[in-house]
Subunit: 366 residues, 2 copies
Amino acid sequence: MAPIVDVHTHVYPPSYIEVLRSRAATKTIPYVTSFPEDPDNHRLIILPGEDDSSTPSTARGRPVGPVYWDIKEKIKFMDRHEIQISVISLANPWLDFIDTSIAASEAVRINDEINSLCEQYPGRLYAFGALPLSAKPSEVVAEVKRLNTLSCMRGIILGTSGLGSGLDDPALDAIYAALEETSSMIFLHPHYGLPSEVYGPRKNEYGHVLPLALGFPLETTIAVTRMYLSGVFDRFPKLQVLLAHSGGTLPFLAGRIESCIEHDAHFIHTVKEGGRKSIWETLKQNIWLDAVIYSEVGLKSAIAASGAERMMFGTDHPFFPPLEGEDEAWLSVKTNYAAIAKAFERDQATADGVLGNNAIKALRLQ
Amino acid sequence: MAPIVDVHTHVYPPSYIEVLRSRAATKTIPYVTSFPEDPDNHRLIILPGEDDSSTPSTARGRPVGPVYWDIKEKIKFMDRHEIQISVISLANPWLDFIDTSIAASEAVRINDEINSLCEQYPGRLYAFGALPLSAKPSEVVAEVKRLNTLSCMRGIILGTSGLGSGLDDPALDAIYAALEETSSMIFLHPHYGLPSEVYGPRKNEYGHVLPLALGFPLETTIAVTRMYLSGVFDRFPKLQVLLAHSGGTLPFLAGRIESCIEHDAHFIHTVKEGGRKSIWETLKQNIWLDAVIYSEVGLKSAIAASGAERMMFGTDHPFFPPLEGEDEAWLSVKTNYAAIAKAFERDQATADGVLGNNAIKALRLQ
């Protein structure tokens, strides 16, 4: 059996948790706190409105414990689910909120800590670094280059905000150039979701389902579509982007994106000239997709869009723990394993690629 | 060859265009107007910001001409594309914006006009009616029942706003009950999109691509997911909803929606009790999807989610005309025909179902 590699698995290392705890006094999101009715447990408030006192405390933020910061828990989770290698990444919202003056030094401190955690388990842990996006662009570029010299770093994790106005910001070009030059994979991950009014006045009746199930994937889709429309993949044709949650909704909507471009007066010259790099070409040349989509339907659609050789298994650990019985195999992981097994029941080589071999090759693991 | 039926094809009948023209003086969206640099052509302003004078006039709104209101143009389009039957519907934003005091009477006037247009072409035209949602719920129910007595009406077209706060509003129950009782298909169609800030500061550089390609499908997905989470399909198990644009993104995200429910403390009792109607069961029992997705990838995903027997061909006419050469076969239509041909190249019976037979059966045509 081929090794299983998890490319979508997060940590909040101790240094980062300390930063989050320090923000509880002013209730500045993101922060870690506890509620009066449940004082012994800490909860992470990560999205606006999660600390609304009209919400039941079980729906306010999410519980945080050692599984978030103790690397032994990560290894235990990997062993329980037969995962040989994990490529860990700082969870959202990364360093996006850090004060400009200390962002570059905090990035060095936290990335070095993550790299050290990986070095404790040689061959089992690698990482995507986090960028100090609130620092000067030249400092971000310097961190990209520095990360490339660390033993276990294999790319970077990136939210959708960029320098504050999205990933189609031309001011990111120097950073994209550095990422392309160092062959660093970008793991593009959502955090900000959509403005909460889109979920309507009854949204709190549905727990976190609407922002997590719909807002997150759409945020990723909008971000990568803006990159595409702004020509990032024309200017940086070797840039490689791993999209969280099987691309958000990009595989399903790629046809509609192409059709909207072909029918928009704004793009008439580009369309008529020919030679335009289509979204389908971009999917096959620049995009990688994780297999965190929880269904055979989604998985097959993702593979049809970008190719099975560009898909890599992931768990989203430590998020989506079972509601009860944390010591058993996690339902969220079993669901994704089952989707892969079903989608490739007659093609073990492709299944092995998705489960681990694609990641080993693409991220130079082992 | 089986007949081809178009279930997603819009009209703005003359009475409706007059309403839109009357709103130009106050620039109250939606309205029909012309711009000083292009005084002979009328343009429809349908989305907020489309009349922003900093936008080039070719990107402001969209051109409107006889293809929007002259039913002969619809028949010409059908003949050109070998479509035998069209189930026409008022285009967005329907009657959502009509003053409360006249909404019920305007609905009668406009629906009667649409039914008369259909009667001019027996066996070739049917329609989905529009509801006076700004009127009293009892008036809406009365119009549902009245529509069911008209010769060519086969259901209703519905936006995502409902009575103003979405389709998960319990105040809609009387209307859902009437729709279920009369076996009226709901054609759920987007209009409002997403708040424009989600597209970032460079959105105008991309024409209408982001709101049309991403905002529209996500609006539909949010609306139907809210219906599902609020229990509409438990309370009205026979309700039938045709989702525009192959479900927005529902087929791709169904697994993630299920997973988010299974992992949300808010739903723990429902999940543990068992017997919960899953989103997959809802897709196969209550949802129909049009084939307006412009790719084989999307089409196969949609079919895998709801079943090929619940998919029906559509064009979105008169939207997405070719940028040049309107008299030829339309690219948008050819793209959807090609996706169907490719997806079912070895299964003509299923292709015939999608192209027309499913609609004939489900909507009692001919």
